[in-house]
């Protein structure tokens, strides 16, 4: 029984991280039809931001989180303003441009922070295990889970309960009509992209103490997040949440049965087969045509 509980807890923590990454990806894709291949590198940038803030200013992981959000969000904002906004008419080319941005970020980190692995300290009070419902669990894992839920709720409120979210949804439905009503589409796009990037940054910050921080760490996360988006679709937050949970748990369970690689391969094959079976049902084809 204990083994199953810990299994679920591991799966939940994988799912929480995935959720944060996929949430940003799905919001960006849902709103502007851009697949952001630099998303993994935003995750990486988040992890490096924590490392840098910790080394330079001796900050605690938790106090760095707002700064990480602002730093990575700022980079995302710049990327949208400088490049991506020129490519809304050519959806396939946004993939290339964002891949280019990813390369530049990765190489810039390699040149300025070094290619060697970096390590981030976990906050002292989260290292010890805690007892919950009679089980022992890592406090840090619970922290990740709680923060992911909090950010999910915040995102929900942002989209469905604020003026900004209203404008964002309006643009998603029909950009031209929304603009006629005086909504500044460019500004909303830039802020949406920045918000998605910021979420990826937070995810990067959260994984930084669990795994070593390296310039190419983003790739593996972003691939999983893509699978989440492909499986869950971008129409609803619920789809993203559900498929993060499914993929996170599948990853966790399969990894415990065999190993990480086989788990990834099986999950990938599963998603490809599911696409064939439910081409319309699991995700909506919304390639932007102008």
């Amino acid at each position: 029984m204990n083994a199953i509980a810990s299994q679920i807890s591991v799966g939940l923590s994988i799912a929480s991280i995935l959720l944060l990454i996929a949430l940003g990806l799905a919001i960006i894709y849902g709103t502007m039809g851009v697949i952001n291949l630099a998303h993994g590198d935003f995750v990486m940038l988040g992890a490096y931001s924590v490392w840098f803030l910790q080394k330079q200013f001796g900050m605690n992981l938790i106090t760095t989180l707002p700064f990480v959000f602002l730093i990575v969000g700022g980079v995302g904002w710049l990327a949208e303003r400088l490049l991506i906004r020129h490519l809304y008419q050519r959806p396939l080319d946004t993939i290339l441009a964002t891949w280019g941005i990813g390369v530049i970020l990765q190489q810039a980190i390699r040149l300025f922070a070094g290619a060697e692995l970096r390590y981030v300290k976990m906050p002292q009070f989260l290292i010890n295990p805690v007892h919950i419902f009679g089980y022992e669990d890592s406090a840090y894992r619970i922290f990740i889970f709680a923060l992911a839920i909090a950010l999910l709720v915040a995102t929900y409120l942002l989209i469905y309960r604020t003026e900004f979210g209203l404008r964002m949804r309006a643009i998603t439905q029909n950009r031209d009509v929304s603009r006629c009503f005086g909504i500044n589409a460019g500004r909303i796009y830039a802020l949406t992209f920045a918000y998605g990037a910021g979420l990826a940054g937070i995810a990067g910050a959260l994984v930084s103490p669990l795994k070593s921080v390296a310039p190419d760490m983003g790739t593996s996360y972003v691939v999983d997040a893509f699978l989440v988006v492909v499986l869950g679709g971008v129409q609803s937050l619920l789809g993203t949440v559900a498929s993060s949970y499914v993929i996170g748990q599948a990853d966790g369970v399969l990894a415990s049965l065999s190993d990480d690689t086989i788990a990834k391969a099986v999950v990938f094959l599963g998603v490809v087969v599911l696409i064939r079976l439910f081409p319309q049902g699991l995700f909506a084809m919304r390639v932007r045509r102008s």
Partner: protein, 376 residues
């Protein structure tokens, strides 16, 4: 429509390029340099493969390196089995298997004792994998950005599996210490003229075969699918079949490039099917010109050539990738059809200007006409 004269010009450009690459060994005698050039030509083939599916059919395959790497591994397996055993165990087991406590040759290694099978497998294995993936995604009418995501995910997964299955694939180290490939009495050593010619002749053949394919009915339908998939579907063509066909052809060509690459490099490594190579292929293709076979091949040769002639140091390579990323973005933004289209872009501008000038004339004439009639 492409005019007769443009077709002739294009054929001439292709011919000149092929003659140039075939003449290179007459002027280069340094074996090391020739090996480098052979490598660039292999990259040219690889980039051409992507141009077939991306430039002509609109299928952006971000996992092209999978086909390349698998082709490379096929060739390496065959050559490994023929290596004179130094550290091998009983029955000519490859050395890394001995280190990993594998006692019998795995079944999928067996057929690689035959060169005929190897050459077939180097093309067929990538093509079959592409077919299976393609069957799922094209039948489901997944297009555009999703193809890119799924192929990228496939690349990462297959790369992980190959590194993970160290007992059978050599893991991180790949397959090294290979013998020289020998066919019909000709030895294709990495530094030999024969290997260079082999690569150059294959690139030449592929350029013209590719051109013929793209000017055939199939090729025209593929280009129509790229421009408007739905309309082609309404004409009654089975879009998924055409897409899957070119996807497989592209994979097989990349597999061929992979086999050649093993000959040129003398090893196979999981880095051949890692994300950076796949990214490079897309960059070469985009920079050279995705919708032109020659452009794509030239893109690869020029970019890797410039890179190779500058430096090989680690910091330089990192800076170089940074520059490539920036160049890539600039090309995507301003020259979607790559450097090869510069001529067309300039010609288009001039034509537009010329067309704009006479276009104003009738306007003036029309306004002037009533006045003139009134004067009369």
């Amino acid at each position: 429509m492409i005019s007769q004269r443009q077709t002739t010009h294009r054929l001439a450009a292709y011919a000149v390029f092929c003659v140039v690459i075939l003449l290179v060994p007459l002027f280069v005698s340094d074996a090391y340099l020739l090996n480098k050039f052979a490598r660039y030509i292999v990259f040219g083939i690889l980039s051409l493969a992507l141009s077939l599916s991306w430039g002509y059919a609109g299928i952006l395959n971000l996992g092209q390196a999978v086909s390349f790497g698998l082709g490379s591994y096929c060739m390496a397996m065959a050559l490994k089995l023929r290596t004179i055993p130094i550290q091998t165990g009983a029955g000519g087991l490859p050395d890394f298997m001995v280190w990993n406590n594998v006692h019998t040759l795995p079944w999928f290694w067996e057929p690689f004792h035959s060169y005929a099978f190897t050459l077939f497998a180097g093309l067929a294995v990538p093509a079959v994998i592409a077919f299976l993936i393609g069957w799922f995604i094209f039948r489901a009418r997944v297009s555009g950005v999703y193809v890119a995501i799924i192929t990228l995910a496939m690349l990462v997964v297959i790369n992980l599996v190959i590194i993970d299955q160290q007992r059978y694939t050599g893991g991180f180290n790949g397959i090294t210490d290979l013998t020289t490939f020998k066919l019909f009495g000709v030895e294709f050593g990495a530094y030999s003229v024969a290997t260079y010619y082999l690569a150059a002749v294959i690139l030449t053949l592929l350029l013209f075969l590719g051109l013929a394919l793209m000017n055939s009915k199939t090729g025209l339908i593929l280009q129509a699918i790229r421009d408007d998939e739905t309309r082609v579907r309404y004409f009654g063509y089975d879009v998924a079949n055409y897409q899957n066909f070119i996807f497989c052809v592209s994979a097989a060509v990349a597999g061929l490039a992979g086999m050649l690459y093993t000959l040129v490099m003398e090893f196979a490594s999981p880095t051949f099917l890692a994300v950076p190579i796949s990214l490079s292929i897309v960059i070469w293709c985009a920079v050279g010109g995705r919708a032109s076979l020659l452009g794509a091949a030239l893109g690869a040769i020029v970019v890797t050539g410039v890179q190779g002639s500058l430096s090989d140091s680690k910091t330089f390579l990192d800076t170089w990738m940074l520059i490539m990323g920036a160049l890539f973005i600039v090309v995507v933004l301003f020259l979607p059809n790559g450097l090869i289209s510069i001529g067309d872009v300039i010609r288009g501008r001039r034509q537009r200007r010329r067309r704009a000038a006479p276009a104003r004339m009738p306007e003036h004439a029309e306004i002037a006409a009533p006045g003139r009639s009134a004067a009369r």
